[in-house]
């Protein structure tokens, strides 16, 4: 697959802070590329450099091998994290306005249907619900039949129904061969949609690859979860003391942590853990076993402390 967008080590400095620090990657045509990271990691600055909205202090971004110019402007679609639209306009009029800004625009009837805008087409665009607003902003981002679409946290603040509905829309767009670049806080979203992701922190890329590859690279363990109240305090202490090896005779690696009134044991050998727990007489009725997911990876790479 050929690269549609080449990000050649742009950096962005704001007085004393470095928002984006020399990040490089290529985005292949037709893929969904995810950018993850905690608040303030530099995702929005990075995506805005890629959109040509923010000028990098150094480095450059190439679209189809050329600097971002009028060709890029006519072929890209953008949904910003915070967008205000002209006031006193209805959804239909807003769509017409944006359609008028491009040499060619997609058929509005099809677009309206595709983004489910029919029911609120004549509403003032200030009176839309969160989900309706995001669908309209997506429709605007798609109005020029773009080859590449940038979505900056498109589902933040949406309820689960609206989020799943939005994912279906994005999958539909991807199925047409459109390239999508997406920033998100939701690991589930990245896992559901993205072919390739980067995880950013402090303006740098700290992990880059396909989600499954990254998980294999970083985790070979499963997680065994049991409600905290199934253990006595003594048992928890004992489990902690056994750390890092449950049994001194085995090389079994495990780690244990308490999370939301659950005990989570991360292990490469589920069978050994089960035996140990049965021996200890722990009730396994509510036991859950799961694989590591992107959220675990994210927390492992970026730490658990709260970001301000």
């Amino acid at each position: 697959m050929t690269s549609i967008l080449e990000v050649n080590s742009p950096s962005k400095n704001y007085q004393t802070t470095v928002a984006v620090d020399n990040v490089s990657f290529n985005i292949k045509k037709g893929q969904c590329f995810g950018m993850l990271g905690p608040n303030g990691a530099g995702k929005t600055t990075a995506i805005e450099i890629m959109e040509g909205i923010t000028q990098p202090t150094s480095g450059k971004v190439l679209y189809k091998g050329k600097a971002l110019g009028q060709l890029f402007r006519t072929q890209c679609g953008i949904q910003f994290q915070h967008t205000a639209l002209q006031e006193f306009l209805t959804v239909r009029e807003t769509l017409r306005l944006f359609a008028g800004l491009y040499p060619e625009s997609s058929d509005l009837t099809t677009l309206i249907k595709r983004c489910n805008l029919e029911s609120f087409l004549d509403s003032d665009n200030r009176k839309l619900s969160g989900g309706q607003r995001q669908r309209m902003l997506l429709a605007i981002a798609l109005i020029n039949n773009p080859e590449i679409v940038f979505l900056d946290e498109p589902t933040t603040g949406l309820d689960p129904q609206a989020r799943h509905n939005f994912w279906d829309l994005i999958k539909d767009i991807l199925s047409q061969g459109t390239t999508i670049i997406l920033t998100t806080h939701y690991m589930e979203e990245a896992a559901e949609l993205c072919d390739e992701i980067i995880i950013m922190d402090h303006g740098r890329i700290i992990a880059h690859g396909a989600p499954t590859e990254l998980l294999q690279q970083h985790f070979s363990e499963h997680i065994v979860r049991i409600p905290e109240n199934e253990f006595s305090i003594a048992q928890i202490k004992e489990l902690q003391q056994l750390h890092p090896n449950l049994n001194k005779n085995t090389q079994l690696q495990h780690s244990l942590y308490q999370k939301d009134s659950w005990i989570e044991i991360s292990t490469t050998d589920v069978n050994q853990i089960m035996k140990y727990l049965l021996n200890e007489g722990v009730d396994l009725s509510f036991l859950q076993i799961r694989q590591h997911n992107l959220e675990d990876l994210f927390l492992e790479l970026t730490g658990r402390e709260l970001r301000v």
Binding site: I53, Q70, R73, F80, A84, E93, R96, G100, L101, N144
Partner: protein, 328 residues
């Protein structure tokens, strides 16, 4: 052109639907004018004014309660009689006097002249409507309304657009800064013309003010003046992101402009430096030119220097404004 029209259309819809702002734009100047008309409706002259051209030796000059004003340009003075600015005009060499047949003060001063004895002077009757303060005020208030609409309507809206991210969103499209700004200018120009015409017609119906010149010339002066003022608004808004700062700056420009552009009172006899500053303000030229057209029936050549000055101001403001413009 397609992009320009798309933005123009959207902006016009925004204006028309923003009922509060639109009705304020119409009601405020009309109410202001009505208020002044009421205030000055009983403004009786304290003294009679008689213009005297040349040296005159006549017992009439001894009359009390009459202000005798020396006159140099007889033709201009005759116009003043027509406009009721002089009650009587005497030309000593020709032994003639002019009086306005529709002026009560003219009639009284004429009777005083006849009763004073002395040389007999030949009467010349002129006619013409009185120029009231309100007639003088109309071009000023129309101009002032236009200035506020231009500075706040364009400058403020662009700063608000920049602050809330509308500009950022538009920047993500092929729209150029020039296309965007031109659409803002023309949209505001259309609105100003629309509001000015309505206010003009509305006030004329009620106050029946004087208009001696050509409507086409007046329209031209107002259009070019609006463009100069909108361009100034654009210049103010070219970079600001804070609406508080934009409000402060716009007020700092518009209030002195209102006071120094002869909207409310004439600056005749003011110090040179005040006149100099006044001449640097676009509103001065709008008000002077439109007053000359409306009250003196001035032609396009008479107000040519005002039009030229406004055009130069417009080009300078526009050039610097577009150069300085930032989407963010």
């Amino acid at each position: 052109m397609k992009r320009f029209l798309a933005i123009l259309h959207a902006r016009n819809l925004e204006f028309i639907r923003d009922r509060a702002a639109l009705s304020w734009g119409l009601i405020f100047p009309t109410a202001l004018m009505m208020g002044f008309a009421l205030l000055f409706s009983n403004g009786a002259q304290e003294r009679y004014k008689v213009g005297v051209a040349g040296e005159l030796n006549h017992p009439f000059l001894q009359s009390q309660y009459i202000k005798f004003i020396p006159v140099e340009d007889l033709e201009k003075a005759i116009i003043k009689v027509e406009r009721h600015q002089l009650d009587l005009l005497i030309a000593s060499e020709q032994l003639r006097y002019w009086v306005n047949s529709s002026s009560p003060a003219g009639y009284i001063t004429e009777q005083l002249l006849k009763a004073s004895g002395g040389k007999r002077l030949t009467a010349n009757e002129v006619s013409g409507k009185e120029i009231r303060y309100i007639d003088w005020l109309i071009p000023g208030v129309l101009g002032m309304n236009m200035m506020f609409s231009a500075l706040f309507g364009v400058g403020f809206v662009i700063v608000r657009y920049r602050k809330n991210g509308v500009l950022k969103r538009l920047r993500g499209t092929p729209l150029s800064a020039t296309e965007f700004l031109m659409a803002q200018i023309f949209s505001r120009l259309l609105l100003i013309i629309f509001v000015s015409v309505i206010v003009y017609i509305g006030c004329d119906l009620i106050l029946d003010f004087s208009m001696y010149g050509s409507y086409i010339n007046l329209f031209l002066v107002f259009t070019i003046g609006s463009l100069a003022m909108i361009s100034l608004g654009l210049l103010i808004a070219s970079r600001l992101k804070s609406d508080e700062l934009a409000a402060g700056l716009t007020n700092a420009i518009s209030i002195p402009m209102m006071l120094l552009s002869e909207v409310w009172f004439s600056l005749e006899g003011s110090p040179q430096w005040i006149l100099f500053i006044s001449n640097l303000l676009p509103l001065t030229h709008v008000v002077d030119a439109s007053r000359a057209i409306m009250l003196d029936g001035a032609g396009i050549i008479d107000v040519g220097h005002h039009i030229l000055t406004m055009l130069i101001m417009m080009l300078v403001f526009l050039f610097v404004g577009v150069k300085m413009f930032r989407w963010e």
